[in-house]
């Protein structure tokens, strides 16, 4: 199946796009991230949270929705 993935801040700088559709067969968020790290190896060292269908979820959450978002913390003020 495919899923829409949105990127914010520094994460979008690494992926060089703000959103994309990704084909996958994985069941949960952490398995999906492993797949994403193959495409973008430098994501692995970055601090971010994952949201599914506009709700922040833990890494063991099952992928049930149609949209994931990768959200890094911002420090600036």
């Amino acid at each position: 199946m495919t899923i829409n993935v949105k990127y914010f801040g520094l994460i979008a700088e690494i992926t060089t796009c703000e959103k994309e559709r990704i084909l996958f067969t994985k069941k949960n968020v952490s398995e999906f991230l492993e797949l994403l790290y193959l495409k973008y190896p430098s994501l692995k060292n970055k601090d971010f949270q994952v949201a599914q269908n506009q709700e922040l979820v833990s890494q063991d959450a099952l992928i049930s929705g149609h949209e994931l978002a990768l959200l890094p913390p911002f420090a600036g003020g």
């Binding site: 520094l10 922040l56 890094p72 911002f74 420090a75 600036g76």
Partner: protein
Amino acid sequence: MINMNRYKRHIALSEIGQAGQNKLLKAKVLVIGAGGLGCPILQYIAAAGVGTIGIIDLDTVEISNLQRQVLFGSASIGLNKAEAAKIRLQDLNNTISITSYPKKLTHQNAITLFKNYDIIVDGTDNFETRYLINDAALITNKPVVFGAIYKFEGQVSVFNYKNGPSYRCLFSNQQEKEQSGNCGDVGVLGVLPGIIGSMQANEVLKIILDIGNILSGKLLIYNALNYQTTVLKINKSEAEISKVLDKKDSFKTKTSSFNCTSEVRKISIAEALKKKNIQLIDVRETSETPKIDSIAITSIPLSDLENNLDKIDLKKEIILFCQSGKRSKQAVSILKQLNINNCFSIKENSSEIKKHLENI
């Protein structure tokens, strides 16, 4: 008696009225950081008649702040930000009480300070202070109006509001991972903190007035380039909150080890040369001019500092300089994090240093 004519556009709103304006006049709000976010927050809450405002910031106004920190003018350069902001705000509204705290927020002073206010506003520029604010607000049971920016994007939320989620429920502190834009010199579109700070001021006023929907349990992300606004739901993590509350008795004994650029020790070239045992380090790229060669200098570009630590003589006092004084401050911060503490950043720029050395 306060002249209510000042607030007649508030009072005209049925959602506010005289009763709402009275709530604003009785409210006490502490704004941490009078920078890009702090300026618009302070401006709007002071204008709205928030009766008691505290401003804490250790930094001084620099010319590079004026691109976005709209409370300040050229005459503010060199003044402490909390004090300069107070002067401007007292002119904007002389009927409210404003207290400036020209100091750093620490584990030692946060709890006592927070107890004097109803709402805490986070307008800081580094993660360590953001976690400190969150934890002290949890312990004192105060809501935090949070805002943070990165280049063209901003985040807004309200934490610890009526037992809602805290900042740690959103981002538990993953210190082993790289975090983006911690103080330093990341660029930012000048108007962005104006937008995000105004949203924070909006949340402050809504909390006081008890109107609308508060951004509690939600994180709003705004992109200034394409107007995309995303709101994500945050769930409360009792485990993260308990970790903070369980340690509240030892909170004050923690050290605030983090150093942003304001904490960097600065020195003039003349003072530096008076010291006996120094190593002068040029952190500019090797191609940059003017070249300085009238005195022994080690060249270690900032971009490669961490790979060249063996060039640093730890038995000496380390004096760093660059083109403007900005990168040398960053270099001192980096070295401090590596426990190399005997470092200073030269106040003057490279041309001034060259001139000084030629005139000795």
